[in-house]
């Protein structure tokens, strides 16, 4: 293999490129990114960057010298626009073509938007810089979508003194992801901080004056942030012959086609640890999957299934939320440590007869790691979760 192209220059793409070099690949290595910036970290965008706590200096994923030492053919500020898997070439927005023997697709996701003009989204550094500075005391911010991103932005804006309204179509924010009880704990944190959380309310459009609700009410705003999820960046793969279905479809080795692998937010792959096809928009998954895809591309004879325990964290007000596993579609939640009311607890998640997830707020690391281990080993629920816990009122069947 003499020519490898990695499309996507964020966490997954960079991890793939670094891994290829670390594993001894010394051929041409092209890294393509649609943003003009060198690879940078995204989680701080809705935290330290939005709050102004950090400048942009802390954001690059690697110092320039480290990036330079990888010997990359670095193409920044240019998007990939097409892929020919027969000729094995990637077409770029500047009209050029790059041939490959091996390809890693790590093009990430883009924010979903609402009809109308003038709303912010929060995905890129430029998005974050456009919004910060507009969130001072007395400013009215409406956040549409109380998922993790919307909740973090609301918490930061509150801290900056803004008047925040958080609008969510579901009756309980994040209930699908973390269950009703944990979703309720997160909701109460918003309300206790004076954020006007409005649930069960749908927004039909954004306007210059605010957001227009389904029932015709206009909620006035100086700034609007739309945080209603993301769409995988797969448009450029439309005529490639690769299978796209809410992401680039990959097998358990992250392989999508002949010489083509997927990694990060854009990749939907089969995770044998949970026995389901999943697409994970988490920072840690991007790096881990970038590494796995690179190794399997380089060493097909020794390829390994990619079977991680997904992990994410979220900072909201004084809470650090950490979760392991695959919580979506769970059958039951039980509080196995701590106390929900104190916002200091571990909740375990059951799917079928196994422990498939754990979520912790404000607990010591060792308490959380214990439950990660239960998820990683596919521990039986009835053995891992004390019966007095499963029988208690804190139990919840989703």
């Amino acid at each position: 293999m003499k020519r490898i192209v990695v499309v996507g220059a964020s966490a997954a793409g960079l991890a793939a490129a670094e891994t290829l070099r670390r594993e001894g690949y010394d051929g041409t290595l092209t890294l393509v990114g649609d943003e003009p910036h060198a690879p940078y970290d995204r989680p701080p965008l809705s935290k330290q960057i939005l709050s102004g706590e950090w400048g942009t200096k802390q954001l690059p994923l690697r110092p320039y010298q480290v990036l330079d030492s990888l010997g990359l053919d670095l193409r920044l500020g240019v998007a990939a626009t097409g892929l020919d898997t027969t000729d094995r070439t990637v077409r770029l927005a500047d009209g050029s073509q790059v041939a490959y023997d091996g390809l890693i697709v790590a093009t990430g996701v883009r924010p979903r938007r609402l009809p109308g003009e003038g709303a912010h989204v929060l995905r890129t550094l430029d998005d974050a810089l456009a919004l910060r500075g507009l969130l001072g005391p007395g400013r009215r911010l409406v956040v549409v979508g109380a998922g993790f991103l919307g909740a973090e932005a609301a918490a930061v804006a509150w801290k900056l003194g803004a008047r925040v309204t958080l609008i969510e179509p579901a009756p309980v924010p994040l209930a699908q992801a973390v269950g009703h009880q944990v979703g309720g704990v997160l909701s109460r944190a918003h309300l206790e901080h004076g954020v006007d959380l409005r649930t069960g309310v749908s927004v039909s459009a954004v306007t210059e004056d605010g957001v227009l609700l389904d029932d015709g009410e206009l909620v006035g705003a100086d700034e609007i942030l739309v945080a209603i999820g993301s769409l995988p960046n797969t448009d450029w793969l439309a005529d490639s012959g690769l299978t796209v279905r809410d992401g680039l479809v990959c097998d358990e080795y992250c392989q999508a086609g002949q010489g083509v692998y997927g990694a990060g937010d854009v990749a939907r792959w089969y995770n044998p640890l949970f026995g389901v096809s999943m697409r994970i928009e988490h920072r840690t998954n991007a790096a881990e999957q970038g590494m796995a895809a690179a190794r399997n591309l380089l060493h097909p004879e020794a390829r390994k299934p990619f079977a991680p325990v997904p992990y994410f964290w979220s900072d909201q007000y004084d809470m650090k939320i950490q979760a392991y596993g695959y919580l979506r579609g769970h059958d039951e939640v039980a509080v196995v440590d701590g106390d929900l009311a104190e916002r200091r607890f571990v909740a375990a998640y059951r799917t079928g007869d196994r422990v498939t997830g754990a979520l912790a707020v404000g607990m010591p690391p060792k308490a959380i790691r214990l439950w990660r281990q239960a998820v990683a080993t596919g521990a039986a629920w009835r053995e891992a979760v004390p019966t007095e816990t499963t029988g208690a009122a804190v139990n919840e069947v989703a």
Binding site: A15, E18, P43, L61, P63, R283, T284, Y311, K320, P365
Partner: protein
């Protein structure tokens, strides 16, 4: 190999502890990483490289050599 930990950037994920438990630990109160060994022996280098690569805050830097 010299290991550097950019503590203010640490997000307390504990990924480094799982990759290289001989070299990293976490504080009990807030989970922030602790560097146990700035100059790990060569047998531990693969684990340390793994830790640096998967750190979700890019807070671990290695100076090889």
């Amino acid at each position: 190999m010299r290991v550097e930990l950019d503590e203010p950037k640490c997000v307390a994920s504990g990924q480094c502890v799982m990759a290289a438990p001989e070299v990293f630990d976490q504080r009990d109160d807030d989970g922030v990483a602790i560097l146990l060994d700035e100059h790990p022996v060569s047998e531990l280098h693969d684990g340390v490289r793994e830790a640096a690569a998967i750190c979700p805050a890019a807070a671990i830097r290695l100076v090889e050599g």
